[in-house]
């Protein structure tokens, strides 16, 4: 229990120091670009393909459900709301944790094991500012974009199944969606969610790598832990955020 509290405490101090390094990271354009390329762009294909399939499944399931009430015109609305409010932010955060978060934890853990972080510190360069902060910022910027792509592709996937295969009217699909989805309540809240998930998942992953026992076993455990804790944090926070945002 005490050990666990210690980890939480170290994690909090870590976050504060990384946040202190953010202004500097924002000015390291090239490094930031490189890291966005690694954590964001490399997760893109995974996100797009997953989003398309999730949208298609939603189209299929939603149609089967709605057609019983003769409300299949609302398919667009159902698909869009499910994606924009929940599945887009949550699933893309989980995929990001598995694809990029684990890679970040492994990379930082390896840099610690091979004394690269210590070497940097001895060169009077704070590794939290130089190495961690740009990766953190890149993650926080990338996740909302990934979530938006997931939702957008998902809507198109739902349209493909609903309109293209099941014969829902295209005009009704879009107009019901537009009438029912509100930008601020639904889209903006979904984006806020994904920003929070981006902060938390990137933080947990970087911290697990930085806190890893500097052996190969320690790094592999840190990698696993980063995914486990990130996923739990995403689900837990999703509940909290949902009850704060959508309970009117």
């Amino acid at each position: 229990m005490l050990a666990w509290l210690e980890v939480v405490g170290r994690g909090a101090v870590f976050l504060v120091r990384v946040l202190g390094g953010l202004p500097g990271a924002a000015f390291r354009g090239r490094e930031l670009l490189r890291q966005i390329g690694r954590v964001g762009a490399q997760s893109m294909v995974l996100i797009l393909v997953s989003g398309a399939f999730v949208g298609m499944v939603l189209g299929l399931q939603g149609y089967n459900m709605l057609v019983r009430f003769g409300a299949e015109e609302s398919l667009g609305l159902a698909v869009a709301l499910a994606l924009v409010r929940e599945l887009g932010p949550v699933v893309s955060a989980l995929l990001y944790a598995g694809r990029a978060g684990s890679a970040l934890a492994a990379e930082i853990g390896l840099m610690k094991t091979t004394e690269q972080l210590a070497a940097m510190g001895m060169m009077a360069v704070d590794p939290l500012r130089r190495v961690i902060a740009p990766r953190f910022l890149a993650g926080v910027l990338s996740v909302p974009l990934l979530a938006a792509m997931f939702s957008a592709v998902g809507v198109l996937g739902g349209q493909f199944v609903g309109v293209g295969l099941l014969g829902v009217d295209d005009g009704a699909f879009w107009s019901q969606m537009q009438a029912g989805v509100d930008f601020r309540d639904d889209v903006a809240n979904g984006i806020v969610k994904s920003v929070v998930f981006g902060v938390v998942v990137t933080w947990i992953s970087l911290f697990q790598g930085h806190d890893a026992v500097p052996t190969s076993e320690g790094v592999s455990r840190a990698t696993t832990r980063s995914v486990v804790w990130s996923s739990l944090a995403v689900f837990g926070l999703d509940f909290v955020l949902t009850s704060l945002m959508f309970n009117d």
């Binding site: 690269q116 210590a118 070497a119 001895m122 060169m123 009077a124």
Partner: protein
């Protein structure tokens, strides 16, 4: 870079640049250092010798301010390392170069960028000047033509030489070497030892080498400290240490398997274990050699 004249061997009592005074450090309940005293003189190569687990790497981390001691202090150039602010510590660290055990090259940068890293971080030099400095430093370690390689393409010895070039990129006053010879073949170890001596003299450095490779380092060190049991048990020029009659120093210098550092892991004697019915730990506890 080699503009400075080669220094004559330093006088008998040179001024200390690094002084360790009454240093005490615990790792868990186990004391690593118990009121350790030693000095490293300016311009000299000081070797810190000791068996594995004697805390040699810990000593470097304490000198570099990466760890905090439980007692005592470390003075570098008259400043107490552990009473400096973070920025004061970083200013001090710019005057130190550290060569980590396996080099600790940044894996996402190539050789050239690794050496350029401290320059880019701490100076506002133009790209041409950085290029000149990097090539000169790489030339000094004989790897100018390896500048386009990646760390994963280097052998262990080459990686250490690149790391050495990086450690001296900012022209530090002190270079700390953490086990520079561990796991090196004789040729590679010879190259590194020669480099340490040459760079020390050519650049007017003060070098601190922690190692257990007695033979190789004896050839170049001006002064040696032998650590054992958290204390410095012998200090002097290599020849003096070699001639020491003290048993634990002799055991270490001559590589004897048994002596004050026991071959057998502490425990009940073998006769008791084999003959006594209830003696010994369950499952048997094989004697572990403390190499």
């Amino acid at each position: 870079m080699a503009a400075e004249p080669t220094r004559a061997p330093p006088p008998a009592a040179p001024e200390p640049l690094v002084a360790v005074e009454g240093l005490t450090f615990h790792r868990g309940p186990r004391p690593v250092f118990d009121s350790l005293d030693m000095t490293m003189a300016k311009g000299e190569i000081t070797a810190v010798l000791g068996p594995s687990g004697a805390g040699k790497t810990t000593l470097l981390k304490l000198i570099g301010g990466e760890l905090r001691p439980d007692g005592g202090r470390v003075l570098v150039g008259g400043k107490d390392v552990h009473r400096l602010s973070r920025s004061g510590l970083y200013t001090l660290r710019k005057r130190m170069g550290v060569l980590f055990q396996a080099g600790a090259l940044f894996t996402d940068l190539d050789v050239y960028e690794n050496v350029a890293f401290p320059l880019r971080e701490h100076t506002r030099l133009s790209e041409e000047t950085i290029r000149d400095v990097v090539l000169l430093k790489l030339e000094a370690v004989g790897l100018r033509n390896a500048r386009g390689l990646w760390p994963r393409e280097l052998s262990g010895g080459m990686a250490r030489r690149v790391a050495l070039a990086r450690a001296i990129a900012l022209d530090p006053e002190i270079v700390l070497y953490d086990e520079p010879l561990a796991g090196q073949d004789p040729i590679s170890a010879g190259v590194l030892v020669t480099l340490i001596r040459q760079l020390n003299d050519a650049l007017g450095l003060t070098s601190i080498v922690v190692t257990h490779d007695v033979e190789e380092i004896s050839a170049i060190a001006d002064r040696m400290h032998v650590l054992s049991g958290g204390k410095c048990i012998a200090t002097g020029a290599p020849a003096e240490i070699r001639a020491s009659g003290e048993s634990s120093v002799r055991q270490f210098m001559q590589g004897l398997p048994d002596g004050p550092v026991a071959f057998h892991f502490p425990g009940p004697p073998v006769a008791e274990d084999l003959l006594g019915a209830a003696a010994g730990a369950p499952g048997g506890n094989p004697a572990a050699a403390r190499a």
